[in-house]
């Protein structure tokens, strides 16, 4: 018999989840060594981040204490104050960098979710000439690294007059291939009868897409949002954006870090600010993201 919690969990993630339960064929020694492994490598993964968090709260003399310490002894917010003073005095105000990053990230994500969903719907649910070829090309493009296309991309951007505008970063993000791929796989789970019923009631394809398909793929939106957020949040428009007032937070952070020893405190504060946003976002959306990837039944 299931306890209520399990019932809920099952319903939430659908048929896909297998509740962890005691299985046969387990040796205690094997379990112990696996968990030792997990702890050891977990520490390797998390310690640099712990160090970064602690550093952000260290007073300057503690950053340069010998021997260096991992944990802060006398936490202070001075580094953040320094950072804001430093950036407040810079030619471009700090708020401008924040606005740039938020705008690029926001616009890129909204456009990507809408465009990728609109393209994923026919690929998942309709049959038409060229469908296989188009999807194969998209899957193949998962294998490119942006570096391969960086040079011609620059030329195309300059022909289109997008150099030194936000759009040089935003527009390519609309057509990022991983999002379309995940969305298409997720949409295949939507029952056909639902769409048939709407069609019989006289709804157009566009209406079906907007009022039936889109609300049904909300969990997948979240996955797309997180994936794209990571990319855009970390982007500095390197190579496309030259105007100082259009540059991103990440670029500003690089400037601070490049400032050397006198800026060490502020650099630590910047590191903390930069990493805390995407991590927080992931904490709140984790279960939905994994759910999407689980139910999207990726196929080869």
């Amino acid at each position: 018999m299931n306890i209520p919690f399990q019932v809920n969990a099952r319903r939430r993630i659908g048929h896909a989840v297998r509740m962890p339960k005691k299985r046969v064929n387990r040796s205690a020694w094997g379990t112990f060594s696996l968990f030792a492994l997990l702890t050891l490598f977990g520490a390797f993964m998390i310690l640099p981040l712990v160090y970064a968090i602690n550093n952000a709260f260290k007073p300057l003399d503690e950053i340069f204490i010998f021997p260096p310490t991992l944990f802060v002894r006398h936490p202070t917010l001075n580094n953040f104050v320094d950072l804001f003073n430093l950036l407040g005095n810079s030619w471009v105000p700090f708020s401008r960098y924040i606005f740039n990053t938020v705008f690029i990230t926001g616009a890129g994500i909204i456009g990507h979710v809408i465009f990728a969903s609109a393209a994923a719907y026919p690929l998942a649910k309709h049959h038409f000439p060229g469908k296989k070829v188009l999807f194969t090309i998209v899957v193949l493009s998962l294998m490119f690294t942006p570096a391969v296309t960086a040079m011609p991309n620059y030329m195309i951007m300059s022909w289109l007059g997008l150099i030194d505008t936000y759009w040089a970063v935003i527009i390519p993000a609309f057509a990022y291939s991983l999002g379309l791929y995940l969305m298409k796989q997720f949409m295949e789970q939507i029952p056909d009868v639902l769409l048939e019923a709407a069609k019989i009631d006289g709804a157009s394809e566009y209406r079906i897409f907007w009022t039936i398909v889109m609300p049904n793929v909300k969990p997948a939106w979240l996955t797309l949002i997180i994936l794209l957020f990571q990319i855009l949040w970390g982007s500095d428009g390197n190579g496309f954006i030259y105007s100082e007032q259009l540059k991103s937070l990440h670029f500003a952070a690089g400037q601070v870090v490049a400032g050397g020893i006198a800026r060490s405190g502020a650099a630590a504060a910047v590191a903390l600010i930069l990493m805390s946003v995407p991590i927080t976002l992931f904490v709140f959306s984790q279960s939905r993201i994994i759910e999407t990837m689980a139910t999207s039944g990726m196929k080869d």
């Binding site: 989840v17 297998r18 299985r23 064929n25 094997g30 968990f35 997990l38 977990g42 993964m45 998390i46 640099p48 981040l49 550093n55 204490i65 010998f66 021997p67 260096p68 991992l70 465009f115 609109a118 393209a119 026919p122 038409f128 000439p129 188009l134 090309i137 493009s141 294998m143 490119f144 690294t145 570096a147 391969v148 296309t149 960086a150 040079m151 011609p152 527009i171 609309f174 057509a175 291939s177 991983l178 379309l180 394809e205 566009y206 990571q230 949040w233 970390g234 190579g239 870090v257 590191a271 930069l274 992931f282 993201i289 994994i290 999407t292 990837m293 039944g297 990726m298 196929k299 080869d300």
Partner: protein, 301 residues
Amino acid sequence: MQNWWSLKWHEIRANKHSYFLMAPYMILFAVFTVLPVLVSIVLSFTYFNMLEFPKFIGWQNYTRLFLEDDVFLIALKNTLLFAVITGPISYIACFVFAWIINELSPKLRAVMTLVFYAPSISGNVYFIWLMIFSGDRYGIMNGLLLRFGFILEPILWLKTEGYIMPIIILVQLWLSLGTGFLAFIAGLQTVDGTLYEAGAVDGIKNRWQELWYITLPSMRPQLMFGAVIQITTAFAVADVSIALAGFPSVNYAAETIVTHLIDFGTTRFEMGYASAIATVLFLIMVASNLIVQKLLRKVGE
């Protein structure tokens, strides 16, 4: 033949809504992904400096690349070394950790997922490692080694040829438990639980057999997906190299194909040559993807 075309045309017209829905995405995709790859391949056979019209020079860029450019050979060696080490290790690590985490209780599972995924999601914060491997005695690594008496003088980690590659590989591994890792966690949750019970009846003795005969084959799609992602990242190392070792690095010790590409593309404006580098990288990636996918089809047999 006339008939076939009119039939197709009819089909296309009947599905015009599908094409309309796909148009915005596909047009942008073509302009910013497909077209650049094609342009790159075409340009790789030309001399092009961004000022004059490209001049066709045949295979000259490629022969220069492999026969005359010593730095490219270093870059090629470094990239292959990266890929061969970080690719498989991070792929296996992604799977092993996802597999162990999957057996934890839901709350603990969420925490451990975050612990392993956090570095790759935290957005270019690998400059933390600059502080850890800082060349003076205040860097964490030097500090520890000095304190315990392993060394007497601080080591210039990122300026000494022998240390650069191992450090970048370490940082790259730290960063590499990303989308593939999440896909594996998700994949493990889709494995049908009754298969394990059936397996136990059929004489599966331990968890390793369970892994090979049941778990891995059940999540083959995620394994494929993870492989594509890992291979692509393993071959594209550049940001970490530039951030940690500088550009160019000491004696090109951290030069990779991508940093070489950036060098010729953005510093020297030899676009034809840079395109040849990009094309070589592209071919290497596709080839290794095909090989790995072939191997993965054998899993659990």
